[in-house]
């Protein structure tokens, strides 16, 4: 009796518990959950995408649960049979992982009205790309009189105690580390020089933010004056009058596509599809491209214009040419170790 009970316990634990409890599917009605990114993306999606989606779908219930891609993946992996998220948003690194681990549903391309209008690089059947992101330097023009021109400027002595970075859980953090490594002779496979450089950056560091959204708010708080930063993360703040500017370093700003995915086993599959359709639609993308969001569109019916054309690139072809695209398959091989190492070593 004791033995069988113990066996039962063991089996239950090994089967269910650790493989993160797929559990029995106690499916229950819940609103559509869209895990967007923190900060400006959440604001943009709350203001534009969600209303557009609800208007088109009879005011369907939905909530935003903003978090980093790596956290989205672990939440879904924890309960793959009954995922707490219906729609995931991923930068290239996590997107590769999510697909490889079978966490995403193939996008029903044949049903989609907008998929065929996307630029070719955005047409990914595992999850189309609704926008591109760019990473360069962000700074406070009130306190930094000469705009920075290079990643190396972050190490300048006058920025002692004024530099912000994020940890490596974000694409911004890892992408920055890789660029720094390359600057000092490293590569996607060897970030050792990058870690050495960040170690030297310590006296300048004022904060290590948990995510790009928080990094942007540190400008709003006057907590930092300069940081590697995401073009979109600062736009809403800038429109509100917070003194913050974006500049591409001379080594080249980083660009990457962000993909949107239906989570496998989502109980709200149909609504998830509808939400993604809304995100790909020319109307939503055109609105998001305008001030204050300035999000790079991927629908070929939306012409890049305004501030984006001025600061980033006048069209997708120029974007692809001008920006640095990193090898995320290579980066993924060691990223988990880097994250752990960074969290252990970088204390300010």
């Amino acid at each position: 009796m004791l033995l069988t009970r113990r066996n039962l316990m063991q089996t239950a634990l090994t089967l269910g518990a650790m493989h993160a409890f797929p559990g029995l599917t106690w499916a229950q009605a819940r609103p559509l959950v869209f895990a967007t990114f923190t900060g400006s993306w959440e604001e943009a999606h709350k203001a534009v995408l969600v209303p557009a989606f609800r208007k088109a779908n009879g005011n369907a219930d939905m909530v935003l649960d903003p978090m980093l891609s790596v956290d989205q993946i672990s939440k879904v992996k924890a309960a793959p049979g009954n995922p707490p998220i219906d729609v995931m948003l991923h930068d290239p690194g996590p997107a590769l992982q999510a697909v490889a681990q079978g966490l995403v549903e193939p996008y029903p391309v044949e049903k989609s009205a907008h998929f065929k209008d996307l630029i070719p690089v955005a047409q990914d059947a595992n999850g189309p790309a609704p926008f591109f992101q760019t990473v360069g330097l962000t700074y406070n023009p009130d306190t930094v009189k000469t705009p920075p021109t290079s990643w190396a400027d972050l190490w300048r002595p006058e920025f002692k105690g004024k530099v912000g970075i994020t940890n490596l859980n974000s694409t911004l953090g890892t992408g920055f580390l890789v660029e720094i490594a390359k600057m000092h002779g490293g590569s996607e496979a060897n970030v050792e020089p990058g870690f050495a450089a960040i170690d030297k950056l310590k006296p300048n560091l004022a904060a290590v933010a948990a995510n790009p959204g928080q990094l942007a708010t540190l400008f709003q708080q006057g907590q930092i004056d300069i940081s590697p930063g995401n073009f979109n993360a600062i736009q809403i703040l800038k429109a509100r009058g917070v003194p913050v500017e974006f500049v591409a370093p001379k080594e080249g700003a980083i660009a990457f596509k962000t993909t949107i995915h239906i989570v496998k086993n989502s109980p709200n599959r149909e609504l998830a599809f509808k939400l993604i359709e809304a995100a790909l639609s020319p109307e939503v993308q055109a609105t998001l491209m305008d001030s204050p969001y300035l999000i790079v569109p991927t629908n070929s019916k939306v012409r890049m214009g305004g501030e984006i054309a001025k600061v980033l690139a006048k069209d997708q072809a120029e974007l692809q040419r001008k920006f640095v695209f990193q090898d995320w398959a290579k980066i993924n091989e060691q990223r988990a170790e880097w994250i752990q190492r960074f969290n252990r070593d970088i204390k300010i």
Partner: protein, 269 residues
């Protein structure tokens, strides 16, 4: 000699009163700061604010994600307070005057969530429900909250029962009243303030709970403190200052009512 005594007294009183006043300022300052900042006209949490306006309170009216989380939090807090009062008062009656060792053991058990790290309990509850195949939901949140809130009800009810004069109960019984009648007409009215105070603290503890909600919530059962924390971490939203202002006013109002009804401050010391 007298001069030395004076010096001694003055130095002592000035030191103690000075430190006390400094601490009182320290205790009150954050609340005042939040209230002032919530009326800022600007976008940053600068103090003093560059100007004053009600714009963030107006923003609050449209903040549907916060409304959603607030409704969930209130509903979970009401359910867990109700459950805590029913289970906790019954348990307090059972153990309060019992001379048995098992009663004292149960007493320590029921109060243990007060000192144990609730985060560890939250994690264990998540593992437990996952193992049983229950996804997190409002029900799991209510159960988790009840575990960490019931001690407040038990503690306050036991304290109220301890102050109850047993002769009153004996008198009621000797006059022929049934146990139930005595309970309803004598015991309950006398311990009611204790129950109210305990229930109030339980409600606040649930409404403000982070460590248990952290593991047992998801986006569909969002809880207000978690939403606020994530909004603060993610975008330092000034709307949160306005929400804080509303919460502070509601808390003070509720606190004054409970102080009137149940003498809250006497029960906490």
């Amino acid at each position: 000699m007298a001069r030395r005594r004076d010096l001694d007294q003055i130095s002592f009183s000035v030191t103690m009163a000075g430190l006390a006043l400094a601490s009182l300022v320290l205790l009150a300052a954050p609340t005042v700061v939040v209230l002032v900042v919530s009326f800022t006209s600007g976008f940053s949490l600068r103090f003093p604010p560059p100007g004053y306006s009600l714009r963030w309170y107006a923003e609050l009216l449209d903040a549907w994600q916060l409304h959603f989380a607030a409704m969930n939090s209130v509903s979970v807090a009401l359910w867990s307070t109700g459950l805590s009062v029913v289970l906790g008062v019954a348990a307090a009656l059972g153990i309060a005057r019992s001379p048995k060792l098992s009663a004292r053991v149960l007493d320590s058990l029921f109060l243990s969530p007060l000192v144990l790290p609730a985060l560890a309990f939250g994690l264990s509850a998540l593992m437990f429900f996952s193992l049983l195949g229950f996804p997190v939901s409002r029900t799991t949140l209510i159960i988790g909250h009840t575990v960490v809130c019931v001690p407040f009800v038990v503690r306050n009810t036991v304290a109220a029962l301890a102050q109850l004069n047993p002769t009153l109960l004996e008198a009621s019984a000797s006059l022929g009243a049934s146990r139930l009648y005595t309970f309803r007409r004598v015991t309950l009215p006398l311990i009611r303030p204790g129950i109210v105070a305990g229930g109030f603290i339980a409600f606040m503890a649930s409404f403000d709970n982070v460590p248990v909600s952290l593991f047992l919530r998801d986006a569909a059962t969002d809880m207000l403190p978690i939403r606020m924390w994530q909004d603060l971490e993610g975008k330092l939203d000034v709307t949160i200052a306005a929400l804080s202002g509303v919460l502070i006013v509601l808390t003070v109002a509720l606190m004054l009512v409970v102080e009137r009804v149940a003498g809250l401050s006497k029960r906490l010391t």
